[in-house]
Symmetry: C2
Subunit: 269 residues, 2 copies
């Protein structure tokens, strides 16, 4: 089921600026019993991303209600797209326009089913992410870099690609954030110039001290993960998952992903 501005529809305006210019933001949230999980963090991130693009964010209650409506049977995910709405040709953003809301229910992808293997296989991507501080961190709709990076492989056994920026520094996965534990410290790349700062990453960083882990957010070269006790990816669909194979290298596991997942779900929302 898809709601466009609250009305059931599978169509959007052909003049929508989300289509014309990638002018909008999105979120994919897990749902349970017809309600979004981690909603406080999800909405806060959506509002923050909207503010960064001077896009009016819909009311929390309106979005939560629409997510509830699409989160029926078989829909374990809700995707929320907010765009700057329809506009005539030209980059100038129309003033005072309300965001167009597209809210859709989606099934859980196979790789996120509870019975799927915990450890995942990943690869290094060739594409380097551009450095753009004005867009970094935001989950916006201008995502061609992610599309090109994901197009680098079609082996279904490989779930994720790891990306560096044009300086060769680690950023994250195509659809996830990157974490690793080394010397008792949970590391994750700085995302002030590239990448998406996901809600699960935020929650993991908040939960880590309860597991006795210090955290470090910084710029790290690609080789930084090679000495880790455990390398992980995380997003709202997968939670935290260990990388057990990275191209031809086997990666160690130390149980951190299981502990972090438990800690994530213990946190009251």
């Amino acid at each position: 089921m898809i709601l466009v501005n609250g009305q059931p529809s599978d169509r959007v305006d052909a003049l929508d600026r989300g289509l014309a210019y990638g002018d909008g933001v999105f979120r994919t949230v897990r749902t349970a019993a017809g309600a979004p999980l981690w909603w406080r963090d999800q909405y806060a991130k959506l509002a923050c991303d909207c503010a960064a693009l001077a896009l009016g964010c819909p009311d929390e209650a309106v979005l939560r209600d629409e997510v509830g409506r699409v989160a029926g049977e078989g829909a374990a995910l809700a995707k929320i797209i907010l765009t700057r709405g329809a506009g005539m040709r030209g980059y100038a953003p129309p003033s005072g326009q309300t965001a167009t809301r597209i809210v859709m229910g989606l099934p859980l992808p196979a790789h996120a089913h509870p019975e799927s293997a915990d450890g995942i296989a990943a690869r290094w991507c060739t594409l380097r992410l551009a450095r753009q501080p004005r867009l970094a961190g935001i989950k916006h709709l201008s995502r061609l870099e992610n599309v090109l990076a994901r197009a680098e492989w079609d082996d279904p056994a490989i779930l994720e690609g790891i990306l560096c920026d044009t300086d060769g520094m680690l950023i994250g996965g195509v659809m996830s954030n990157l974490l690793w534990v080394a010397q008792g410290i949970l590391h994750t790349p700085d995302l002030s110039a590239s990448g998406v700062a996901g809600v699960t990453r935020t929650r993991v960083l908040r939960a880590a001290p309860r597991l006795g882990l210090d955290t470090r957010i910084d710029r790290f070269p690609a080789a930084a993960i090679l000495a880790a006790e455990e390398v992980m990816i995380c997003n709202s669909i997968l939670g935290v998952r260990p990388i057990v194979r990275l191209d031809h290298a086997h990666c160690p596991s130390a149980g951190w992903s299981a502990r972090l997942n438990t800690a994530l779900h213990e946190e009251t929302d």
Copy 2:
């Protein structure tokens, strides 16, 4: 009038990847007497941009026919959007999918009317364009940088903003390419890491030798245009237009834009 895959419609699929990820390309072409101008160059650029994204480009005859259908009375422009079509959630491009075609007729904007002033006012933008060789030159749909740059001003007297990349080197206008003549040479920025390589820029570079102008494409610092005889912008809607004011500075004119416009239109298509 709007055609979606050849059918009159003002709606597109809410699952379209153009909307979800900015996964597609576009062109805006001038039309006259129901036919696109400079069509050979326009289609060649569209096919080139599609190839760069591994997107199947529709047949030339199909698109030319659709442009003709929307180029009725009052429509002096046709915008062609090609996307990777509808897809389920996830960045992986579906294989073997035909591009979705959205072709719309649009009126000429006021600033492109023949009676509007020739010389235009421009400003320097604060935003710096990211350097991404994989996307540079392509007129793709992931254009949030252009949206943010255009949002920097709302003075209707200013038509264009001039952009540098994150290294401070000149790239072009928000909606146009940048040209200048200095010491008998036509200069334009190198676009191998940022910017859109427009069809009018290509045609200008091809026409310049007929006016006795050598051409130079290179990386130039912002100050390079300050010593020019004439600074110009160009695109398919405006043709070539001199910048006569850049923020508070008055810029000289030397008649090059008029000569280049004449040369552009002399070229057989």
